[in-house]
Amino acid sequence: MAGVTTHPAVDLSGNRRRIVRERVIHLLFLAAGVSSLVISVAIIVTLLGKSFEFLTNIDLADLWTEPHKWGPRVAKYDLATLFMGTLLVAGVAMLVATPLGLGAAIYLAEYARPRVRRILKPILEVLAGIPSIVLGFFAIQWLGPQIVQRVSSEADAFSLAAAGLGVGLLVTPLVASVSEDAMRAVPHSLREASYGMGARKLTTVTRIVFPAAISGIVAALLLAASRAIGETMVVALAAGSIGDANYTQDVFDVGTTITAAMAQLAVGTDKVAAGGGRGAGQAYNSLFFLGLLLFLVTFALNLVGDVFVRRVREKY
């Protein structure tokens, strides 16, 4: 491993001031290192505290109302609406990002000659650099009317599908870069053995390289799914809900997701927070409850993804 640090074997300096200075600096760096733990703890404490306050102050039946409807300002905190919306948007996003990202990754890792790669790789880097709010604007202005409404004539101008397409474009570079790394990590001896047996390129790529890189590819998809679930602005703009949303299973419908519901709550946070009374304050606290749910889901996906990524590193 390249990261093994060496330490001076014996301290020959003998200079008292130098030794003290070393110790102080070491402690400072240690403090910086530990500060990231403080951030994690702060996130968890904040989310848990306010969520607890939220759950103890509302009627728990409001979390799963019939008929399903998300309306925090009228004390309807229906989670089914948000879960279904999140699932639909993330599903559409993965339907877009999986083929595009994997295709791009296989091409860059296996087919592109060095010079071609240098020209094509920046396409993904540029795509990765576009702020999500800009993709949200694009989803409203172009993806909605030009793609979604052409696919389904009954689609709204704003829809979960348009939001999903936008999120899909957003996570494509992530799928591509993680899975390209995984395929590049496959040792060349495997490919050469395959060619030696008379296999053609297509067979080598699909039967040898792809299966060998599978854990990295799974990791790429998990991390992308986590990003898609956590993406906020594209959905807040393009999915069409403004605060309240009805339950829907139709991707061509207007809807909301966990993240978009949070953004829309926060647009009016001042009103919600300052409203006083038990009901009004709870809409504000519901923000933290949604945040906690989001944190738990993405945390689980990231953790599993991380295990897969490290398996690639250990194997080769």
Partner: protein
Amino acid sequence: MSATDLVVTREITVDRALRGRRIDVAGVAFQTLLLLCLLVCLFFIIVLVGTVWSDGWPVIQERGTSFFTSDLSRCSEEPCLSTLKPAGVAQGIFGSLALAILVVIVSFPLGIATAVYLEEYAKESRLKRFVQLNIRNLSGVPSVVYGLLGLAVFVQILGTNRGEGGGFTGGRTIISGGLTLAILVLPIVIITASEALRAVPQSLREGGYGVGATKWEVTRRLVLPNAFAGILTGTVLSLSRALGETAPLILVGAFYGTFFTTGDASFTEKFSTTYTALPQIVFQWTTDPDRAFTNLAAAAILVLLSLTLLANLTAVLLRNRYEKRW
């Protein structure tokens, strides 16, 4: 040319020699399909830029510099009713730059120090592995969640004195926003800086120890200067990420209204009152029911994209200028 590149070239040559003039139809079809995936991405980028450009450029062309120098307003184009002036992005540019400066001041030193601790000081231990795992997880936490953290900690706990106004950050101010964004990009800064430090060859450190330097002297005089380019590239890239973030700013309350001017506020006042930033303005104008604001939003996106592009370009130039090959 790296070893991988050489191998790829070799494969192509062998493949050709073996196959002669016969064409592997399925293989070519597959390769074309893969290339198509990349071209579809390119297509979307082109359409995106085209859409934004065709909506936004006329606004900038027509308004000229007044678009960059005027404040937010309810009026989208001239002539305006009453005494309003047409809306512009001056406050957004100021807000975004101020936020960027705060991010640089807070997250860069802290992030680089953490990376130095992990790569140079920490021995292989459970603590080190836990900190690293924690940082990887933090980098995957959705940005809205950081917004919640900022809202609870910087806006409410640090922003008020026992429920009153005042406090360290002053509540919904640019300082709260900047600190939130700084924490948001911290994991990225740490990860990229760690990679840059790891790329510094071990022999350099050993040479330092060999002449009797202490750990800090080796780090300061040998490791950090040699990792400088990599660290800088990573940090500038994280800055461009911070510039484009919207969701956390919405939560910590970048201003979302039209009737506010900080035009005549003094410099210090600008840091203790309401503020806005470019992505926030884009959000506000995109959701405006008045369709004329859509074009303004596109124009604001052009400004935002040129800022992030500038940051990325700086990163690439710095990398090319200072990059070392071992």
